[in-house]
């Protein structure tokens, strides 16, 4: 049976792991390769790197991090942040990424998602949807949650799936950094709305939150950063917690 995936996420800035609260208050949290090796040993199912300060000047630093990580751990690696063109995707794949996450660029040039999925295969292309509640619905935000777009997040996720995205990385901007749990209503609506896997992200504070994202939220995978990064829980503890509730996970 297909296991639900536990994905530790590393926010990267200038080649270092950082962790912000609601996309501000950045604190340094260490070396990405060391973190990746630690998660590999704990049985993480996948790793996600998001370059939150992506710019032309720091691109090579990111490629270098990706390459060093891919040399040291043998598990799927998703990398995102500042991806604007097919060439960026190609460079990341060649550096050692398995999947590339597109966020802002998908909003401004949705055709990039279509072209990229045809060129590199759907399963290589993740579309990151950063959603924030606005009145009675959710809207997409760009630039790390700073700029509203007026686009309905659920219809956007559907459109991206139609354009060939292989996976949706769904982050609730309201929950992110709060440790109060995923936005379950949002996660469930997107999961029900698209035929591709959805990764729930933003707001994990304890292991029960992971179970909620996978259960009620119907996500295929859960992403978390700080609960793993600061050693509150190991990945193995998370899987054990899910396993006893009957959620299929890969025990290592």
């Amino acid at each position: 049976m297909l296991s639900k995936r536990i994905i530790p996420c590393l926010d990267i800035a200038h080649g270092r792991v950082v962790k912000g609260v609601q996309f501000v208050d950045i604190i340094d949290a260490g070396d990405p390769v060391e973190a990746a090796i630690r998660y590999d040993e704990q049985g993480a199912d996948e790793l996600c790197f998001l370059d939150i300060r992506a710019s032309v000047e720091t691109r090579d630093t990111l490629y270098d991090v990706v390459t060093r990580v891919a040399e040291n751990v043998f598990m799927p690696l998703t990398v995102g942040g500042g991806v604007k063109a097919l060439k960026d995707i190609e460079n990341l794949l060649h550096a050692g990424a398995d999947k590339v996450s597109i966020n802002t660029a998908a909003i401004f040039q949705p055709e990039l998602v279509r072209e990229a999925s045809q060129r590199f295969g759907s399963s290589t292309i993740v579309v990151a949807v950063d959603a924030k509640r606005v009145d009675d619905h959710w809207e997409c935000f760009t630039h790390g949650g700073r700029k509203p777009t007026g686009i309905n997040a659920i219809s956007w996720a559907k459109q991206m799936a139609d354009f060939g995205a292989g996976e949706i990385l769904l982050t609730s901007m309201d929950s992110d950094g709060t440790k109060a749990g995923y936005d379950i209503a949002l996660t469930q609506q997107v999961s029900d709305g698209v035929s591709i896997p959805v990764i729930a992200s933003g707001g994990v504070g304890n292991l029960e939150h992971l179970a909620q994202g996978l259960g009620e939220g119907k996500a295929s995978a859960v992403l978390a950063a700080s609960i793993f990064h600061f050693g509150e829980y190991t990945i193995n503890q998370a899987k054990e917690h899910l396993h006893v509730q009957g959620i299929p996970v890969r025990l290592t």
Binding site: A70, P76, L93, A95, G96, R119, S123, S195, P197, R250
Partner: protein, 208 residues
């Protein structure tokens, strides 16, 4: 003992190369037919679309060179797309001819899975159940999970060519196919941590 790792300009050669090196393999990146000559083993990794892969192999005359190496008995491992191109044809983005080494075709997961709420691509860790008489390269995978990511599956005409099975949304499919010196796996051993590395190590010592 050189493993020729075929680079057709699409795939993530890097991680497969590193994984093979980790288990003691000596890797040569092969981009021309000459690079395949005298190689003791061949690995064809796969990322991207079937038609682009086969077109790129043909453009570089690698298709004929691969067939020749396989005919001469060189152990071959195809990963994901490298498995799928062994078959006669694929229906991904139209109809495209494969290498035709193993009779059969490559088809999309059945549409009813999506209607049942099963997500496509099949992405994540799932079982690898080797055939009762396990293929020597796959034997260590019994009771293990490996990492899959695909929307198309191999359907060989002869069920005896299925070397390992997996099931997704109650739909059984081939996790590995093979005959003689040729083996293809749908999952990614280079992304399957210890289980995958053990399989790759078994491939580096396999004497079909």
């Amino acid at each position: 003992m050189t493993i020729a790792l075929v680079n057709y300009g699409m795939g993530n050669i890097h991680s497969v190369a590193k994984a093979l090196e980790r288990v003691g393999g000596k890797v040569r990146i092969a981009t021309t037919p000459d690079d395949l000559k005298d190689a003791s083993r061949i690995v064809l990794p796969g990322v991207g679309a079937f038609r682009d892969c086969i077109a790129s192999l043909r453009k570089n005359d690698l298709d004929q060179a691969l067939l020749e190496s396989m005919r001469s008995g060189t152990p071959y491992l195809g990963i994901c797309l490298g498995m799928q191109i062994l078959l006669d044809e694929s229906y991904e983005f139209g109809e495209h001819k494969g290498l035709g080494v193993i009779a059969g075709s490559v088809k999309h997961f059945p549409a009813h899975l999506t209607e049942d709420g099963i997500k496509i691509p099949h992405m994540g860790w799932n079982d690898v159940i080797p055939a009762t008489e396990a293929h020597p390269v796959l034997a260590s995978l019994r009771a293990k999970q490996c990492y899959y990511v695909h929307s198309y599956v191999c359907v060989p005409k002869n069920p005896q060519h299925i070397q390992a099975a997996c099931s997704y949304g109650n739909h059984p499919f081939a996790a590995a196919i093979g005959k003689d010196n040729i083996l293809g796996v749908q999952f990614h051993p280079e992304k399957s941590q210890a289980a995958g590395l053990a399989m790759l190590e078994a491939f580096t010592t396999w004497n079909p």
